[in-house]
């Protein structure tokens, strides 16, 4: 019961904060960065669900993100479909690809699954670069038209801010409902004991495949919104560096809760912005390296001091607060 009462408050705070943000900030800088936060949060959230809750060690999020972006981008740029239809078709394509790849790969466990899905990541990145007649190759895909909703053209950061946060919060809402249902318990059961899960009637292989495809679809949707936002896309956006970034977000935020990766995405992206802004003057040439060193140290520190990530730390703080209040009453 306590959980049920606590959640709406945090939702009201988050949604309220996000609604107020465009009103209190001037210019497009903050809103623009927050678009990235939302898109990365959607991705990291799905990845956190797979790694932390289902115990499926999959690294295939960047390729599904990339596929979503490229399928939607190509269909729209070539004028084959209207942008909205292209997003839906891209989600379906990603679902089918995830199903076909997941069915054999999810028989693997742990590091073997990680290796196989990492292979997929490399293959997709190389394929996107080499199939230049379709994808535009390393020069990138250009000519992506703007999104049009019911005759209303989406342009500028604010529109995409609303769209991307809509997707992110929608995914969070879906995941939250899911994890508090029989399917969610089955997903958590996979992580704790596959043997016990199967003896209570959970089809382990099917359940894994379902959650794999679900998170892939959400990554694909995030990808198509990303490509319409940038109106440009290149293979390097969906490669190893994205994987590292997502991992950073999941670890910093904490994978055992749903909101952890969202928090991780917010903190990671804004920390990077801060580094770029303030260290630019001191270290004019070395920003990328400073980035890597800084986040490397941060990940190590988080793993040592609060292995549950920021979410785990906040959870501990909330628990401490409740016991303090509880004792006073």
């Amino acid at each position: 019961m306590r959980e049920k009462r606590r959640l709406p408050l945090s939702w009201i705070l988050i949604v309220g904060g996000l609604t107020l943000l465009p009103l209190v900030t001037s210019g497009t800088y903050v809103i623009g960065v927050m678009c990235f936060v939302a898109i990365y949060a959607t991705l990291a959230c799905g990845m956190g669900l797979l790694l932390g809750q289902a115990g499926v060690f999959s690294l295939a999020h960047p390729p599904f993100f990339g596929l979503g972006a490229y399928v939607a981008g190509i269909l729209a740029a070539r004028g084959i479909l209207t942008p909205w239809a292209a997003i839906i078709v891209a989600a379906l394509v990603v679902a089918v690809v995830a199903y076909l790849i997941g069915a054999p790969l999810l028989r693997l466990r742990g590091y073997y699954l990680a290796c196989a899905t990492f292979g997929l990541l490399l293959i997709v990145e190389i394929a996107l670069g080499q199939l230049s007649s379709i994808t535009g190759g390393h020069d990138g895909l250009v000519g992506i038209p703007p999104l049009v909703v019911f005759g209303y053209t989406l342009e500028g950061d604010l529109h995409y801010y609303l769209l991307s946060w809509g997707l992110c919060l929608g995914c969070l809402w879906f995941f939250y409902n899911l994890m508090n249902s029989r399917v969610g318990r089955a997903i958590k059961a996979l992580h704790d004991s596959e043997i016990a899960a199967s003896t209570v009637g959970i089809n382990v292989a099917r359940c894994k495949l379902q959650v794999f495809v679900l998170t892939a679809i959400m990554a694909g949707l995030a990808g198509s919104i990303y490509c319409f936002y940038l109106q440009f896309t290149t293979p390097t956006l969906y490669g190893f560096s994205l994987l590292v970034e997502l991992f950073t977000m999941v670890v910093i935020g904490g994978a055992t809760t749903l909101y952890g990766p969202v928090l991780g995405s917010f903190v990671t992206i804004w920390l990077r912005e801060a580094i770029h802004m303030y260290l630019k003057n001191i270290l004019p040439v070395m920003t990328a390296e400073v980035d890597a060193v800084f986040f490397g140290v941060l990940i190590v520190a988080i793993l040592i001091f609060t292995p549950g990530g920021l979410a785990g730390w906040l959870g501990g703080l909330a628990h401490f607060g409740r016991t303090l209040l509880g004792k006073r009453v």
């Binding site: 879906f174 995941f175 409902n177 899911l178 508090n180 249902s181 029989r182 399917v183 969610g184 318990r185 089955a186 958590k188 059961a189 992580h191 704790d192 004991s193 043997i195 016990a196 899960a197 199967s198 003896t199 209570v200 009637g201 959970i202 089809n203 382990v204 379902q210 679900l214 055992t256």
Partner: protein, 259 residues
């Protein structure tokens, strides 16, 4: 033949399981009557847990047949076996350690419920209704094992004896017709053992069939109508507690160690 399988719920014929060169089970045959309590005993390494693992579909047998309600279930995957009404507990609990006591029990309701991923994710009214029913059923099961007051605690914080009872409650949530208990009294305090004995008797009165694997001999003798004795994967005796206690081979293989 059909009449025979009607009277017994579980029919095991010539069941064998090998691990490399080790015969964990070797041509084990026996039947469990509907509504009976059957105990499987034997010294360490006799193949008792392997037997439960084979029946519940975690291992597939190398030879032999397993008929449940007249249907051959040998080699079926575990989730299929579960959906046919066979539940089990584990010697080492095998609970879902990241969940609360209640959630563990609720996960036992999985095979009896239907809401899919989309209905659950969108919190569709039918899914919410089902969730409410699952919660009620899980609370009932917890009340039966006497854990309703610990429902919201993380299962990892419970002592061993209570964790065993959580496993019991989870199995009850599956509404099984056949329940296999792997050492249900192991690690339990005396009053908890008493509760388990009472509970098993109540369940059997309501028509459940129970198979117990146990080391605790007084516990077994107080409960079971029939006992099967395994030694080194071979069935060496079957009968009432009296018959088994006086069986030469059993005394030699099992009780004889202590005489």
């Amino acid at each position: 033949m059909a009449k025979e399988s009607n009277s017994s719920l579980l029919d095991v014929k010539g069941l064998s399981k090998f691990f490399g060169g080790i015969r964990a089970l070797s041509h084990v045959s026996f039947s469990v009557e509907r509504g009976a309590i059957m105990a499987l005993i034997g010294p360490n390494g006799a193949g008792k847990s392997t037997f439960i693992n084979v029946i519940s579909g975690i291992y597939s047998p190398d030879l032999g047949e397993v008929h449940f309600k007249g249907e051959d279930i040998a080699g079926c995957p575990a989730h299929v076996v579960a959906s046919k009404g066979i539940a089990r507990t584990f010697q080492l609990e095998e609970l879902f350690s990241s969940m609360t006591v209640l959630e563990n029990a609720m996960s036992g309701c999985y095979s009896g419920t239907r809401s899919g991923m989309v209905a659950c994710g969108t919190s569709f009214p039918s899914a919410r209704l089902e969730e409410k029913r699952i919660r009620e059923e899980a609370m009932e099961s917890l009340a039966m094992v006497g854990l309703e007051e610990r429902a919201f605690e993380p299962v990892s914080k419970l002592p061993l004896g209570e964790r065993k009872l959580v496993g019991f409650a989870r199995a009850l949530c599956m509404k099984p017709t056949f329940l296999m208990l792997d050492e249900p009294a192991g690690g339990l305090a005396a009053h908890e053992v008493e509760r388990v004995v009472k509970l098993i008797n109540v369940l059997v009165e309501h028509g459940l069939t129970v198979l117990i694997v146990e080391h605790n001999m007084p516990f077994v003798m107080s409960l079971s109508a029939r006992i099967v004795v395994l030694d080194a994967g071979i069935k060496i005796a079957e009968g009432t507690p009296e018959e088994v206690r006086n069986d030469e081979q059993v005394i030699r293989a099992y009780l004889g160690q202590e005489l």
